[in-house]
C-alpha cells in the first residue's frame, strides 16, 4: 500500500526530527545537578563546568550589598531527612562548605538563613562558587524563623 507507506515515512521523519532536536539540545545545554557533598568529592574534574548545586544557607553568613548588587553567603549540605528542621552539618572531618558569590542580581526575597537554595554557576576556586543565578525554593508552607527578624530586610 504505497499511499499508506508514504504517510508512515512522513510521520517517521517528523518523529526523527523531534528526537534529533531533543538529543542535540540535551548535549549542548545540560548541566550537572549536584549536592554540596558531591561537588566537593569531584571538585577537580568539575572546575570551570556549569553546575547546578543544591544546598542550604548557613545561618548568619548572608552578606548583601544593595549598592553593587553583590550577594555572598556560605552554603552547606542539605540534611539527609528532608523534614528535619534542625541542621547538623556532616560531622566527619571538616564541614563541607561553599562560599557563594553572585553579582548583578537582586537578592531573592526568599533567601534567608537555613533556606534551601539551588545555585547555578561555576567553580572559580576551591570551595568557591561564582553564581550566575541563585534560586530559592519557594515552599507553599514554611516555618518562620522564631528567633527574630532576619538580618536583611532590604
Amino acid at each position: 500500500m504505497p499511499r499508506k507507506l508514504r504517510f508512515v515515512i512522513g510521520v517517521g521523519l517528523m518523529m526523527a526530527a523531534v528526537a534529533y532536536l531533543i538529543t542535540t539540545a540535551i548535549r549542548s545545554t545540560s548541566e550537572y545537578y549536584l549536592t554540596v557533598n558531591e561537588v566537593r568529592a569531584r571538585e577537580s574534574e568539575l572546575a570551570g563546568q556549569s553546575l547546578r548545586v543544591a544546598g542550604r544557607v548557613k545561618p548568619g553568613t548572608i552578606r548583601w550589598d544593595p549598592a553593587t548588587l553583590t550577594l555572598e553567603f556560605t552554603m552547606m549540605p542539605l540534611p539527609r531527612a528532608e523534614d528535619d528542621a534542625a541542621v547538623e552539618p556532616v560531622a566527619t572531618g571538616a564541614p563541607v562548605l561553599f562560599d557563594v558569590i553572585a553579582r548583578g542580581e537582586p537578592k531573592p526575597d526568599m533567601l534567608a538563613d537555613n533556606r534551601d537554595v539551588i545555585v547555578e554557576g561555576r567553580l572559580s576556586a576551591p570551595a568557591r562558587l561564582n553564581a550566575s543565578q541563585v534560586l530559592t525554593k519557594c515552599p507553599s508552607k514554611y516555618i518562620p524563623d522564631k528567633k527574630g527578624i532576619p538580618d536583611n530586610k532590604g
Partner: protein
C-alpha cells in the same frame, strides 16, 4: 465544626463507593431505578463535599487556629480575600477543592445524561466516582484538612506572601478547573471502550467539556505566567520550571485532542489516536500533581513535600494499566476504513499539527524528567534548563504556526496545486511583505523574522476565511457586511470561534517572540535626584517613602519617567515586609504599552543615604501575550456557545434516533 467536615468527607467516600456499585450493577442488569439511585448518590456526595468546603472556609474566615490547616496558611491580619483563597493555598485545601470540583462536574454530568447516553453514561459516572474515591480516600486517611492541633496557637503562620496576590487567587482555581474537567471526556472514553459504543458519540457528548477544560487550562497557564511576571520580579513570565511544565503538558495534549477529534467526526479516522490522547491528557493532570507533591523532581516551587507522591504514582499507574488494557482489548473494533489520501489535504495538516503538539509535549516531558532519568541510567543527576526547552520548541513552534495557517484553507481529502496557489496567494504575499518590511526597518534576527512573517501569513489566512464566509452569505441573503459577519459567526460558532482562538494564539506568539529576543536590562544604583535611561525612557529617582500597616511594612521608591523630555508616568516599585510570615517581598512597577513594557524592580536601598538600586527591563511586545489570552478566551466562549443545530441534534438523540446521526455538520464553504 471540624467534626462536621470530617463526617461529611467520610459520608462522601461511602456515597462514591455506593455510586460505583449501583451504576455498574444497574447498567449490567438493566435496572433504571438503581442507576437513578446511583445518580442521587453522586448528588449527595457533592452536597457532602460542599459541606466540608464550607466548614474549612468558615474556619479560615473565623481564624480558628485549632485547625492545623488554618494555623498553617492564615493569620488574623490576613486580608479577607486571601483568607478565602487560602483554601487552595495549601495541600489539604487544594485536594479538597479538587474533589469539590470533581463532585460538581460529576453531578452536572449525571444531570445532563439522566435521559440520554443511557448505556455509556452510568459507566462514565462510575469512572468519575472511581477518581473521586481516590481523592476522598486521600482526604480521609492520608492528608486530612480537618486535623486538630493539640495546643492552639495565638496567631497563624500566614499565607505565603508570594501567594497574596490577585493572580495567585485565580490561577489555582482555573488550573484545577481545567485539570478536573478533563476527567469528563476521559471517563466517557473509558465508558465507550467498556460498552463497545465506539462511534463518535462519546466525543460529541463531551465536546463542550473538552473545550471547557482547554479554556481553563489556557487561563490557568496565562494567569500563572502573569503572576510570575508581576510577583517574582525577574522580568520574565515563564521559566520552564517543572511546575509550569506540569500545567503546560496537559494543555498541549488537550489542544491536539481538540483538533484530531475533528478528523474523527468528519472522516471516521484516528479513533485509537483520540482515545490515546484523552488518556494522556487525563494522565498528565495526575502526573502534574504527582511531580509537584512528591519531591521527585526538584522545582523552585517545592510545595509541601509529603507522603502523597507514592499514592499518586500508584493511582496513575493503575489508571494507565487499566486504560491501556481496555484499549488493547478493543483495538480490533477501532479499525477505520478511511485512510490518508494526500499530503495536500486538511487531514494531513491536522495530523502533522498533532505530531508537532505531541512532539513539544514529549520534549517538555523528557526535559522535565531528565534529572530522574539520567540518575537512573548514568547515576548522575543532569538537568536541562530553559535553553533546552527553547532550543527544541522554537523550531517546532514555527512548524505549528505554519500548519495553523495551512489547515483552515486547504481542502479535505486532497487538493490540487492550482487550488492551493489560489487560496494561499494573498496570505503568502501578506506574510512575505511583512517579513520584508521588518527587514527594511532593521530587524535582522532570522528567527524573529520568520516568526513574524508566519504570524502575518496565518492572520492573512484567517482574514481570507472570514471574507470568504461573508461574501458567500452575501450571495444568499442581502444584508450589510457587518451583519453578515455577526450571522456568519453565530451560525458556525464552532468554526469561527476556533479562528478567533487562532488570532489570540498568534498575538501571544508575537508577544513571546518579541519579549524573548529583544529584551533589554539596566541595573543602576542612584542617589535621590539622579536619573538614568533605558531605551527611549529617562528615569529620575525622587526618593523613598515608607509606610506600615498591622499586616505589612512597605518601602516605596518614587521614579519619574520621561520620554523625549515629556513626563509619561510616575512609577513606584516597592519592597514589602510581611510581619506574620517574617518575609520580605517585591512589588514591581510595570508600565505597559503595546510596543513595550517598562518593568522596574527596587533591588535594594539604604534608608540612611536614600540611595536605591534598580533593576529595569524594557520588554517589547509582552503586552500581546495577555491580549492574545483575552482573545483566546473570547474565541473559546464563541466556540462553546449553544448552537441551535446542535440542540436539535441532541433532542433527536434523546428521541432515540440513529446513533450515527451527524451532529452539527460543518458547512461546506466556498472552494471545497
Amino acid at each position: 465544626m471540624p467534626l462536621l467536615g470530617q463526617l461529611a468527607l467520610a459520608l462522601a467516600l461511602i456515597l462514591a463507593l455506593y455510586s460505583i456499585g449501583a451504576n455498574v450493577y444497574g447498567v449490567r442488569r438493566d435496572l433504571p431505578d438503581l442507576i437513578a439511585s446511583a445518580r442521587h448518590a453522586i448528588w449527595a456526595m457533592c452536597a457532602m463535599v460542599t459541606i466540608a468546603m464550607l466548614v474549612l472556609w468558615t474556619g479560615l474566615l473565623r481564624s480558628d487556629f485549632s485547625l492545623e490547616y488554618v494555623a498553617s496558611y492564615s493569620s488574623t491580619t490576613l486580608p479577607t480575600i486571601y483568607k478565602i483563597t487560602a483554601l487552595w493555598g495549601g495541600q489539604q485545601g487544594s485536594l479538597l477543592f479538587w474533589t469539590w470540583l470533581l463532585s460538581i462536574f460529576s453531578s452536572i454530568v449525571a444531570w445532563q445524561n439522566r435521559r440520554r447516553n443511557l448505556e455509556i453514561a452510568p459507566w462514565a459516572l462510575a469512572v468519575m466516582a472511581g477518581v473521586a474515591i481516590f481523592f476522598l480516600a486521600m482526604l480521609n486517611f492520608v492528608t486530612r484538612p480537618f486535623a486538630i492541633l493539640a495546643t492552639i496557637p495565638a496567631q497563624g503562620t500566614d499565607l505565603n506572601p508570594l501567594l497574596q496576590n490577585y493572580w495567585m487567587s485565580i490561577h489555582p482555581p482555573s488550573l484545577y478547573t481545567g485539570y478536573v474537567s478533563a476527567t469528563v471526556p476521559f471517563a466517557f472514553a473509558a465508558a465507550a471502550l467498556i460498552t463497545r459504543r465506539l462511534d463518535d458519540s462519546w466525543i460529541r457528548t463531551t465536546r463542550r467539556w473538552a473545550i471547557f477544560s482547554w479554556f481553563f487550562l489556557t487561563l490557568g497557564n496565562l494567569f500563572g505566567a502573569r503572576w510570575a511576571y508581576e510577583v517574582l520580579g525577574w522580568g520574565g513570565y515563564w521559566a520552564w520550571d517543572p511546575v509550569e511544565n506540569a500545567a503546560f503538558m496537559p494543555w498541549l495534549v488537550m489542544t491536539a485532542y481538540l483538533h484530531s477529534v475533528m478528523i474523527q467526526e468528519r472522516k471516521d479516522m484516528l479513533k485509537v489516536w483520540n482515545l490515546v490522547l484523552i488518556g494522556m491528557a487525563f494522565g498528565l493532570t495526575l502526573f502534574g500533581t504527582f511531580i509537584t507533591r512528591s519531591g521527585v523532581i526538584s522545582s523552585v516551587h517545592s510545595f509541601t513535600q509529603s507522603g502523597l507522591g507514592p499514592y499518586f504514582l500508584s493511582f496513575l499507574i493503575t489508571i494507565a494499566v487499566l486504560y491501556s488494557a481496555l484499549l488493547i482489548w478493543r483495538v480490533k473494533d477501532l479499525r477505520s476504513p478511511a485512510e490518508f489520501e494526500s499530503y495536500l489535504s486538511r487531514e494531513a495538516a491536522f495530523l502533522f499539527n498533532n505530531l508537532a503538539l505531541i512532539g513539544i509535549a514529549f520534549a517538555v516531558f523528557w526535559g522535565t524528567l531528565f534529572p530522574v532519568l539520567s540518575e537512573a541510567v548514568r547515576g548522575v543527576k543532569i538537568t536541562v534548563g530553559p535553553p533546552f526547552f527553547n532550543r527544541v520548541n522554537a523550531p517546532l513552534a514555527l512548524g505549528l504556526i505554519f500548519l495553523m495557517g495551512v489547515g483552515p484553507l486547504i481542502a479535505w481529502r486532497r487538493t490540487t496545486p492550482r487550488n492551493l496557489a489560489r487560496s494561499f496567494a494573498a496570505p503568502v504575499f501578506f506574510g512575505v511583505a511583512t517579513g520584508l518590511c521588518a527587514f527594511a526597518v532593521g530587524l535582522h534576527q532570522w528567527y524573529a523574522l520568520t516568526a513574524f512573517s508566519l504570524a502575518a501569513f496565518v492572520l492573512g489566512t484567517i482574514l481570507v476565511e472570514f471574507r470568504r464566509g461573508v461574501s458567500a452569505r452575501g450571495h444568499l441573503v442581502a444584508e450589510p457586511p457587518a451583519r453578515a459577519l455577526v450571522n456568519l459567526v453565530a451560525k458556525n460558532n464552532r468554526r469561527y470561534g476556533g479562528y478567533i482562538i487562532h488570532v489570540g494564539v498568534i498575538f501571544a506568539f508575537i508577544g513571546i517572540v518579541g519579549s524573548s529576543f529583544f529584551k533589554t536590562e539596566v541595573k543602576r544604583s542612584v542617589k535621590s535626584g539622579e536619573s538614568f535611561s533605558i531605551g527611549p525612557y529617562e528615569l529620575r529617582y525622587a526618593g523613598l517613602d515608607s509606610s506600615e500597616t498591622p499586616h505589612l511594612e512597605t518601602v516605596r521608591a518614587k521614579l519619574i519617567v520621561t520620554r523625549a523630555g515629556r513626563e509619561v508616568a510616575a512609577m513606584e516599585p516597592a519592597k514589602l515586609f510581611y510581619k506574620a510570615a517574617q518575609q520580605p517581598a517585591t512589588d514591581v512597577a510595570i508600565r505597559s504599552t503595546p510596543a513595550a513594557d517598562l518593568y522596574v524592580v527596587l533591588a535594594g536601598f539604604d534608608e540612611a543615604s536614600a540611595t536605591a538600586t534598580f533593576q529595569v527591563f524594557l520588554t517589547p511586545l509582552v503586552f500581546w501575550i495577555w491580549l492574545g489570552g483575552l482573545v483566546m478566551a473570547l474565541g473559546t466562549v464563541v466556540a462553546m456557545w449553544p448552537n441551535v443545530r446542535e440542540r436539535a441534534a441532541i433532542a433527536a438523540s434523546v428521541r432515540g434516533r440513529a446513533a450515527d446521526d451527524r451532529f452539527a455538520p460543518q458547512p461546506a464553504s466556498g472552494g471545497r
